[in-house]
């Protein structure tokens, strides 16, 4: 893969960098980090790598780090802080306003059967509404189908903090190929575990026993902090499994 150009906010985009799709009828899609100034200017607003997908005719800026900004449709891990009369107040990221999770936004719940979530519980939820004017709202059910789609309370296990870029890599359809994440495949050969990743930079891991849970969590965190390549990830996986 060719080295993507680095852009700073306000830089003009090099003319050859925009994807030229073979199919001219697909409109150019602008992803995060780019803003369209009509009529014909595209300007990056964050610093990072300019990434291109020729097949989907999409262009975006890849940055790592910073705080998570809630966006509608994202799957996140939220911790319940307290309950009000008709919703739970959940924390998505520290030092930000709470998101509200309505009592009735769960699968198979009625006014008589309310979910029992104590303060401190972890939920896997989707952001229903997020904008700069109001506090975010989250839900644990798909409002169209009424199914939970894997969302809901997560019991047991342990929560780890990772960078936003790492959580995006883990949530790719094929992390080992697209995101160079092979360490989890290596560990999964020896240690069975369950994992949930939230786009707000949180990962929940559940395995048999604290030691195994910690191995998985440490693996992800070391890959993230050291920005490890494929070979280094294999070395770390071997070291962590040997100590088990």
């Amino acid at each position: 893969m060719a080295l993507s150009p680095l852009v700073l906010p306000g830089d003009p985009i090099p003319p050859g960098a925009l994807p030229t799709s073979s199919n001219p009828s697909i409109p150019l899609k602008l992803g995060p980090g780019l803003r369209h100034i009509p009529p014909d200017r595209i300007v990056p607003v964050v610093a990072g790598e300019l990434c291109i997908d020729h097949k989907k005719n999409a262009v975006w800026v890849e940055t790592n780090g910073g705080r998570y900004i809630p966006t509608a449709g994202d799957l996140i891990l939220a911790t319940v802080h307290h309950s009000t009369s008709d919703s739970f107040s959940c924390s998505i990221s520290p030092h930000t306003p709470f998101a509200s999770l309505p009592h009735l936004a769960f699968a198979g719940v009625t006014r008589k059967t309310r979910p029992q979530l104590n303060p401190g519980s972890l939920v896997y939820a989707r952001i229903a509404l997020a904008n700069k004017h109001m506090d975010p709202e989250i839900e644990c059910v798909n409002p169209a189908t009424g199914k939970s789609d894997g969302m809901g309370e997560l019991k047991g296990g342990m929560l780890f903090d990772v960078s936003l870029g790492m959580s995006r890599r883990l949530m790719m359809p094929n992390p080992s190929a697209q995101g160079s994440m092979v360490i989890l495949d290596e560990i999964a050969e020896k240690v069975p575990f369950e994992m949930a990743v939230g786009r707000n930079g949180r990962v929940w891991v559940d395995a048999e026993g604290v030691a195994k849970t910690l191995v998985v969590g440490r693996a992800i965190q070391e890959t993230d902090e050291g920005n490890l390549g494929v070979d280094e990830q294999r070395k770390v996986a071997k070291r962590l499994l040997r100590d088990l």
Binding site: P38, S100, N131
Partner: protein, 205 residues
């Protein structure tokens, strides 16, 4: 009893048997008392045409003028306080899933010298499908809204309603910073970027 030229709140001005209570005053213990600080004026009430019955002319009205009214010498100037069923123009200051907080700027045709705070509850945004209203699709902070006062409310807020075709957002600015124009009862369009945003739109004519 001679009334004072400047009254302070609570000061008795006259007997309620001799005078009628006008704007800025209230009746307490059979006395007309001032409610606000200001100069006291007396004027004759408008006598309505009576149907043949001869009556004594109604008693003169005692009122305390607000500073905004001192500019004009017309003692019978309409009060700038919002009353129930008054149509007001307000700017949205804050939104919340349950209500929108607004600052009332114009009451009827008079611009208020200072703003009053009002609330538009989510069930008062529309007349139909009240439980499906989303405040974010009806108002945004900064919008100018035409609303009707439904209640004088409590110490901090008037209660307003936009349930009506002629009520709703009158002027709105898009996310891109351009003034938008209405295209239907629920959408505004930004002419520069072409993006539409949803609001509860007031009928423009």
């Amino acid at each position: 009893m001679a009334y004072p030229s400047i009254a302070i709140p609570g000061q008795p001005l006259g007997l309620s048997s001799q005078y009628a209570s006008g704007p800025g005053t209230h009746v307490q213990n059979a006395h007309i008392c001032a409610s606000i600080l200001g100069p006291v004026v007396e004027y004759a009430q408008d006598t309505k045409a009576s149907s043949g019955k001869t009556r004594d002319s109604p008693p003169p009205v005692l009122s305390v003028q607000r500073s905004a009214q001192l500019v004009s010498n017309d003692a019978a100037l309409t009060n700038v306080l919002p009353e129930v069923d008054a149509v007001v123009l307000a700017r949205v200051t804050r939104i919340n899933p349950r209500q929108a907080t607004v600052a009332i700027l114009v009451v009827g045709e008079t611009v208020c010298s200072d703003e009053f705070q009002g609330l538009i509850r989510v069930q008062d945004v529309r007349a139909t499908e009240k439980d499906k209203v989303k405040i974010f699709s009806s108002f945004r902070p900064g919008d100018i809204v035409r609303a009707q006062v439904i209640s004088l409310g409590d110490q901090s807020n008037y209660y307003l309603s936009t349930a009506g075709n002629h009520l709703g957002v009158v002027m709105a600015t898009s996310d891109g910073g351009n003034t938008m124009y209405p295209i239907s009862w629920k959408e505004f369009k930004d002419p520069v970027t072409g993006v539409t945003e949803s609001r509860k739109v007031a009928k423009p004519f």
